[in-house]
Subunit: 370 residues, 4 copies
């Protein structure tokens, strides 16, 4: 079987495993206070341009990261505004509410919040009888792979500052977003515009781990207490540092990291300079995007339409029921929504381990069924 | 100034105050374990037909009651389904989420849930990645004064049982609902159909207090611990018992309780027998409804249209901006929603102390402005 | 039966009831935004010398008040230090922990915390692996009726400021403490030394209600949201204002308020000036103390020893088992702890309604049994 | 520098890393629903004798595991009894209280609970005004390396059943406990006696991970929802399965796993049969114990006394201040408590990577200083 199920169905990129193996017998202090976490944090401070003041914390997973940031930021009666399709609303089993806070879910447009939607939700916080919005939660890319443009993110950030709302960006697939051909929002833009965000590792080549970056000093205050309090502090914390070192340490030659395909293709305009993003993390993201683009183009050429337009590592073709059933004999993927008018929207995801051969095999299969 | 602001802008009905004064020097045990609470509970067990097995708890207010029931019923990952306009969603400052549970807010139709809406929300609880609906929260009447019919309530109750959902009914204005001319759902019906509900006192002649009735023994288990844990246990608990005794003790003659107006008018079909509801609580409710009907009819005769159709003690006329401004010189009431097309929806509420003269004064004022 | 069970076994002092009756038909806004609450708050601001900046909030009960203050003050990983015998530890069903915070219980000496005990608990908050103490909770008087001296309170307050801990004082029986013959800590001292405290009404002549005073502006920020979020906001909030007005409005003549006994006796040195404390609240407290003193002296003269020495409205004699059993035929009181060496410590409490005759009847009963 | 700091200062045992490397490119479903987790769970069901009915869940860390079990087991007003020195009380930053529940901390004797202490704490749960103990939390071994005997555990388990308390055992270092020469409580005994426990991986050769075993079906109900709700579900869950497979798969030859030292020494009587415990997990534990014993014996022979007597992989010698300072030049370890009478209690821990040479180097160092 060939997997297009998710970008976390395999272990870690081999260079990440190599780093874990290589450092395995080292002794370090626990809980993320070790040279590897320090080095990885320094790399992130440099990449983001935030410098020494920002907090960098390595978290084991996205839900843990989201709930900890939100619980740290909000007072008991405060809520977080999110799109109806947001991960914290639809796929985290009420973890945020478990910390005592409402997720104020608003419809969203293509999975995205708009200033109008935020304003409308904010206004519901009238007085002491209503929960009070205090944070906006976005993800870049969104659950359905759409992107906020630089302009959109700037407008939302400005509104948040005006309203006194924290802006927090879930970057579970941030690599893929930053390297998308349609993206014009750089990592430095993002870092400057929001109060906190995370650089997702789990879905971009790590065994596990997300690098949380907190620009706002008040939100960062005693954050390590928050992590431990929420049960998210890893004993052998250096495992996270080692992985992010491997992913983020600058490297000259992308070809050393990822084989097959011209990885310079599929690179968007969202770069601060041409030297930017020269590390395994973005090589993986670029390659995932490249393969997803190849898949998308191939399907389009075969006459496919799409459930939603994306430019990241997720592809959402609308396929005939019969075709879906036949593909399911050889491929593992997710039916994204119920059949409509004879077509099923499916989700095909490329991961660090996806190969060009796998893409071609799938395209061949589709071609034969037509 | 004449108040149509709310049904809790005055103290208690005089008969309730009389009972408090009369029993004031008695010594009793605290925390609701006293003869008055026992007697009031016995009256409620009789009225509802639930008998000795149900739990009856006297709570100080609606929010405290709602959050305690919900926190007692749900396991940490479970949520409660409510209409988008539900009190727990729009006017309780996230108190339910404060206990760790999501309020799954669904649009609602005229403030009401339907089996379809419940089913749709239920289906979102797919697997371990999603919060799991476990309770349906309704209010009778709803926030905008609409009513669930007996048929509607039966269908919802049947669905809840099928899906394993608790059905909980917020009865902040239950008296007014039960005595509405359009109501066909009796107290006994309600008690039989839902797992828990409360008989609101605060908005129906008490100083404060709501009588929570729990039919489901599992939900009732250690409920007094829950009340105290949530900070809702009143030291001089007998105050609640005394008030509900005064409100619910059967009485032959309604005229003894409420003056003015034919209180037998405005009584709906929702009665188990003709002797039913012969107590101060329902006399107050019937009179509130009677006065609201008089107001509604008067406004309609003057050409008014209404923001929503109600048959309880809340009236929602659409008034010209100029008229609203003029009325505001002599009357206190709530602008319910923003002006649209030159009309403002306002809310006029009758309470235990509202008089026919006050109704007529308002109608005169409107008449003069036309 | 004669009750020495508690100071909340009867309704309200007659003057409080009078005020409730007199204002009953007034219409006011709900939720504590009304002229009565404003007036009562103004009286408290004046009495405490804190002026316009402090927050005054009228709460329905002690547990609700304690949990709301603590939840407002602490970030998620922070804890509150309290004596092992503190009300929040032994009689609030884990309500504080329900808001997510540890009560760090330390042994206490005569029910009191000491700077050493606080320091020791504080030091346990070592690093991100330990809950971090952020508040000290005291009660004045303590659960067993002992008092902090001015010197003790000053030392604790100074330590709290040094360590960055909030100091919060539970004043469920504050009236009795302030009027104790042994007390040298005035209301103004207390108000100045701690960050928040409450003036207990429930146990000092009110139907219910505690007046929470918050000196620290950060703690007071959005406190009304906190109250509602915790389910503690009373719809007819003015009931609390009316009661505290009745209790605190300055009055020339104590004899007008309380009958029997020389209420000028039993007044401690803890007064800012001779005009201080001329209101019903302190007249009630003084009389309760006077009657408790009379009981204490009488029992001592009859040869009784005491479980603990108190100077407030609670008396803890050690009585022979046989005597306890005989008293229980005519009196209702609490066995405080198990029998030891043939003696049972019992608690006798005087309330606003206790009479000299009741004291004398009990003393006679004891005398006859000797 | 030589590390005796902790048993989690290195990565994973090489065989565990081997397994991770070997399975790295496999595609599996996420979140612990994969063949490796299934196989590891099957091994645990067999080892424990609990069979198909028990729940097995792989958790990322101890705090996450503890808080999730406790939050799943208790209703809001319920508390968990633990020793004052218990990990959940002293080193989890109030994570359990963060889920709303009190940790009722009792003094403990040598870090252990006794039936008397449990009974005393249980009795404090008098009525609706007190938090209600519902679970006993133990760890085997305790924080200071002491062990519950089979007899002790049986007595406590019987008491828990009698009182309706869940018994939960934290097995962060369970391997070392089971393989201690002084242990007489087998894994099967433990599994049978308690309602839930975990087999710690993090401190016994895994990169991270604890295998939680839940015997009680009610506690296991919807436990995966609980894990996700608490933020503890790992995306690439199979990493945990792979590691526990590597640790627990039966193997004939211990020498294949651990080098140096006669690992058959240091094996206690706590075995169900001679074939029991033939897997990497116990080989590691036995070797850690063997090396700790060697260290303990060596120090004793050099005249050392001990802060507390242990038989697991932690050694607590009392060393002269000067000696501690000199050792700190070449060794990393933890000062366990402040100096007293010129002696400092230090903690020396052996891990999977500790060598005999390291033990001997330390003993030599001590010898030279005498």
């Amino acid at each position: 079987m060939i997997y297009f199920l998710s970008d976390y169905s395999q272990g870690a990129h081999l260079k990440v495993m190599e780093a874990l193996n290589k450092t395995n017998s080292e002794h370090t202090a626990g809980y993320g206070i070790d040279p590897h976490c320090e080095r990885a944090a320094a790399l992130i401070r440099e990449m983001t341009g935030l410098g020494a003041d920002c907090g960098v914390h390595f978290m084991t997973g996205g839900t843990s990261c989201n709930m900890t940031v939100i619980a740290a930021a909000l007072r008991p009666y405060e809520s977080v505004i999110a799109a109806r399709t947001a991960h914290i609303y639809v796929h985290e089993t009420g973890a945020v509410e478990g910390t005592g806070h409402r997720v104020t879910a608003v419809p969203g447009i293509d999975g995205k919040l708009t200033p109008e939607l935020i304003m409308q939700a904010f206004r519901e916080g009238e007085d002491e009888h209503t929960a009070m919005p205090r944070m906006v939660y976005l993800s870049q890319p969104t659950e359905t792979g759409t992107l906020y443009s630089k302009q959109e993110m700037q407008t939302i950030a400005a509104l948040c500052r005006e309203l006194g709302l924290y802006l927090y960006v879930d970057g579970a697939r941030l690599g893929s977003a930053l390297c998308s051909v349609r993206n014009d929002l750089t990592l430095r833009d993002l870092a400057r515009l929001c109060d906190a965000f995370y650089i997702g590792g789990t879905k971009n080549g790590a065994l596990f781990g997300e690098a949380l970056v907190i620009r706002d000093p008040k939100l960062n205050d005693h954050f390590r207490w928050m992590i431990k309090h929420q049960g998210g502090m890893l004993a052998k914390g250096r495992l996270l540092g080692v992985q992010f070192e491997a992913l983020l340490e600058p490297q000259g030659d992308p070809a050393a990291n990822v084989s097959g395909g011209d990885v310079s293709r599929g690179t968007g305009a969202g770069h601060d300079s041409k030297d930017e993003y020269k590390c395994l993390y973005f090589d993986i993201a670029r390659r995932e995007n490249y393969l997803a683009d190849r898949l998308r183009t191939g399907l389009r050429e075969l006459g496919c339409r799409f459930y939603c337009e994306t430019s990241t590592n997720q592809v959402f073709p609308l396929l005939l029921v019969r075709l879906v059933e036949q593909l399911e004999e050889n491929f593992i993927f997710h039916r994204w929504a119920p059949e409509q008018d004879g077509l099923i929207p499916v989700r095909l995801v490329t991961g660090w381990g996806t190969t060009e051969e796998e893409i071609d095999t799938l395209l061949d299969c589709v071609r034969k069924q037509l």
